[in-house]
Symmetry: none
Subunit: 351 residues, 2 copies
């Protein structure tokens, strides 16, 4: 049974500014009448002045107003308006190249948008744009258009610049491009933090919280296993995934039907397959999992394979606990594991 956080534990989360608990509870400060998310950068309140709520609604009906720094009412990690506008523009005109000068024209400090991208996508805005364009180029090339034509088409100012850029993304020159797969990558938000999702044309191959430490390793692993490159962009699987996840977070969806693409060893595959059989709202122990696989001694191995799962939530590795009922580890942080389990328990009854 997932244990509830004590007051002290919650307060410690506040003191440490631990963002992994954002969305899991809210902290209200009696002296100011303001409530924040854990991780808010405002001055740390004294423990005697704080109250905790599980939902923002509770905080509000108790008379607190949302903090202006951490904006606990806006969707966590939500994209600010001015950046949303730029992204819309980019989507509408994929080949337009927005330089710093263009950003200033639109009243945006380039450094501001750069910082936001650094933080949320771990790349600069210019790098994001480049990748975005390259993604379009890939499609065109796949469709058989000539390379030079494509290059000019998408706004590179010289062929050599295009080649360099393409090379750095695909690891070899455009003319050799044939066998590489593309993993489309998107970023979206959930009540417990922003996530990345990636999909090939076969299916979804990744969903992870953006702050998962192993993320880079997972990218590397996917690129290697699928002989692929990762580029920003959407495809139909990602559309479906977002829809299903949204329903999941509303408590309405208990089974995911989006196709998956999960390269890995046979053993890993079997572990992941087994994970998918754990129903919404239920939990198992590592030991039970090992036994079901016919390897009662392979508990550690199961744990390891669990950790190797790259499709958080959809492949519900969060539903596996230590044999004494403890949460043990979770790539997205134990706070999220607990939140997910509570969420599922709460909605398990309905429908």
């Amino acid at each position: 049974m997932a244990s509830k956080l004590s007051f002290e534990e919650k307060y410690d989360v506040i003191v440490r500014r631990d963002t992994t608990y954002a969305g899991i509870f809210f902290v209200a400060v009696k002296t100011t009448g303001i409530f924040c998310r854990p991780g808010c950068t405002a001055r740390t309140p004294k423990s005697k002045n704080v109250l905790f709520y599980d939902t923002s609604h509770e905080a509000i009906i108790n008379g607190y107003r949302p903090c202006k720094i951490c904006k606990p009412l806006e969707e966590l990690g939500a994209t600010p308006d001015y950046i949303q506008k730029i992204l819309d523009e980019l989507e509408a005109h994929p080949y337009r190249r927005l330089k710093d000068w263009d950003l200033r024209q639109r009243g945006i400090e380039p450094s501001q948008i750069r910082r936001w991208f650094k933080k949320n996508h771990n790349m600069t805005f210019q790098a994001y744009q480049r990748l975005y364009r390259i993604n379009g180029a890939f499609t065109k090339i796949s469709n058989g258009e000539s390379i030079t034509h494509t290059a000019y088409d998408i706004g590179f100012e010289s062929i050599s610049g295009f080649n360099d850029s393409f090379k750095s993304t695909f690891d070899h020159a455009p003319s050799q491009e044939k066998g590489k797969t593309v993993i489309q990558l998107i970023r979206f938000t959930t009540p417990i933090g922003p996530m990345f999702a990636g999909a090939t044309s076969t299916g979804v191959c990744l969903t992870e919280f953006t702050d998962r430490p192993m993320l880079e390793t997972e990218f590397k692993d996917l690129k290697k296993r699928l002989n692929a490159v990762i580029l920003p962009g959407e495809n139909k699987h990602l559309v479906q995934l977002q829809q299903e996840l949204a329903e999941y977070f509303e408590g309405k969806r208990k089974v995911f039907t989006v196709p998956l693409h999960t390269p890995g060893s046979a053993f890993s595959q079997s572990v992941w397959q087994l994970l998918r059989t754990i129903p919404f709202g239920a939990t198992r122990t590592y030991k039970e999992q090992a036994e079901k696989l016919g390897k009662p001694k392979g508990v550690r191995a199961v744990g390891r394979a669990n950790g190797l799962n790259k499709i958080a939530i959809v492949i519900p590795c969060h539903r596996v606990l230590g044999s004494n009922g403890e949460l043990v580890g979770y790539g997205g942080g134990k706070g999220r594991k607990k939140w997910l389990l509570d969420h599922e328990r709460m909605h398990a009854m309905s429908t």
Copy 2:
């Protein structure tokens, strides 16, 4: 000018058992012919029976003998011999695990050493020992030694045991490099009380009297700012620091050259930098400091930044007074502030 304590104030120090005045004056009890340090745990004498002396020497020549509880002639806060021996052994043979049984072999009651460590290091001896070894392990692993060998080198007899232990102090498995730094921490004595000193590989980041109330907060702050773990151990900066402090207390050193590591806001940094320019033996007022920083209205801010200084003595926040010449506050206690200023005034002339 720093004011002298009145009889009532001194007696109050005795009643409160305020250790921050230990080493600064002595209390003699007329009815028993015994003299103690402030903070002695023996029964409190009545005020009519006490006399105060500035030095132990004066008490002795007036016919008083040292108390057997607080031992005013022995080094203040010194590690007892029988414990020092154990610590030496630990340093010489880090792989040798001293169990309670081993301690008894050496004629030491485990509960006794446990109590001493609880009191002076805020952890049990076993915990201290473990952290000390884990610290060594971290160094070895950082130096590229294999995790398996390291585990055995530092006295574990199973990898899993080592892993568990490592994880509980670092929050992640040994191989997972997460950029954590280690702050080495030592305890040592001075004429006016025991101190802790901490240092990263960059430089000294903390020197404080062990009874400073804010100590835990300072630890927490350092851990957060440097993404660090604080572990018992030494490094070259700490060796140098101890040497320089010893010279300082002898009145021979007026300038510290040991490298510092002082994370903090730009403003704090500037305040601390300015503090270091106040010469040995001199004093300034908060107001002067604020003016020198070009912020004549920022007196309070300067005071605050002074208080945030974690490197007592080396960064001489004790050399700043209120504009009327009063001592105002000091993290280590006003008694120590006055002692330090007197000490510096006395030795300012020489050499």
